[in-house]
């Protein structure tokens, strides 16, 4: 039997430890910001989620290239899971950002702020991916179209990031700059550890969902083989039963032995 989710426990333990260290640094090590006060602690959550979500979208595009180049469907599944997870993180970015905006600026949302609006555009763009994907019935076409979408939208993400950087007036602070947004060393360390913990958490959740997808596929193949085997007992068995692609090994174990 294929063991899915290999290394998942170790990865989960490592991300739990990293998140614990990051939280300790956020609340017990990093100093209180002189300008914003305690509310600035949201920064260590909001910015890493945003960076990881955007990187997840770009990574999904790279995986989609892998699918179109090789024709290997597993790359398409990886790309789909990365986008699904990044959309969920995107919800986290928007909600934590709105809370931080309310505390710092007195408004839940500011429409003339390029960073906020551009992230919303990217988020809404990716929200169209699942309906697009599942509106196509043919699995081969579905994977191909989804990959094209993932590549196009994935290329849009860094372009969008650059466009926002070039925007002149903004209230939203800049973190990724040569000076690191003028952060002191302790704050920068806390931010980097938080970013690492978030990336590790994303990888763990990505692997968990991939495990679920692989299990679902194996289950589907096994059900088909069992149905075929059951049908073969009732009616004269065909000389060489068709096995679905990727389910040959499972079908071999599920089919009745010769001469039975």
């Amino acid at each position: 039997m294929v063991t899915y989710g290999k290394g998942l426990r170790a990865l989960a333990a490592a991300s739990a430890a990293a998140v614990a260290v990051a939280l300790w640094l956020v609340f017990f090590y990093a100093p209180i910001d002189a300008d914003q006060g305690f509310v600035q602690k949201i920064f260590y959550l909001h910015v890493p989620i945003a960076i990881v979500a955007l990187c997840g979208f770009v990574a999904a595009g790279v995986m989609a290239i892998g699918h179109l180049r090789s024709g290997d469907r597993s790359w398409d599944v990886r790309s789909y899971v990365a986008i699904h997870l990044s959309i969920i993180l995107g919800v986290g970015v928007l909600v934590t950002g709105a809370i931080w905006a309310k505390a710092s600026w007195g408004h839940w949302w500011v429409w003339d702020e390029p960073t906020l609006v551009s992230f919303l555009i990217v988020f809404l763009l990716y929200c169209t991916y699942p309906p697009l994907r599942f509106s196509i019935e043919d699995s081969e076409r579905q994977a191909r179209y989804a990959s094209v979408f993932a590549i196009t939208a994935g290329a849009f993400v860094p372009l969008n990031f650059l466009a926002v950087r070039l925007a002149e007036a903004y209230t939203h602070p800049r973190v990724l700059s040569a000076t690191g947004g003028q952060m002191p060393g302790s704050m920068r360390l806390t931010f980097l550890v938080s970013l690492f913990a978030m990336a590790l958490l994303f990888t763990t959740l990505w692997k968990l969902e991939l495990t679920a997808k692989n299990l679902a596929r194996e289950l589907r193949d096994l059900r088909r083989s069992a149905e075929r085997a059951g049908g073969g007992e009732r009616a004269p068995a065909p000389a060489a039963p068709d096995t679905p692609t990727g389910g040959a090994a499972v079908a071999a174990t599920a089919a009745p032995p010769p001469g039975s």
Partner: protein, 54 residues
């Protein structure tokens, strides 16, 4: 805007962290339930197939 007092700021910070933790916990719970249900189904389906093979 000047910095909020600690008690008021604490509420916003707690809200942001609680929202994120809830998001992750709900996601993990859904995925874990799915995986364990499928694992049970997989074992149940594989058992008769293996018995037939023996």
């Amino acid at each position: 805007m000047s910095a909020l007092p600690l008690d008021e700021a604490g509420r916003y910070v707690a809200a942001a962290y609680v929202v994120f933790v809830t998001l992750v916990v709900v996601y993990v719970a859904i995925m874990a339930a799915k995986v364990s249900r499928m694992e049970r189904e997989l074992v149940a389906l594989k058992k008769p197939a293996e018995e037939r093979q023996r």
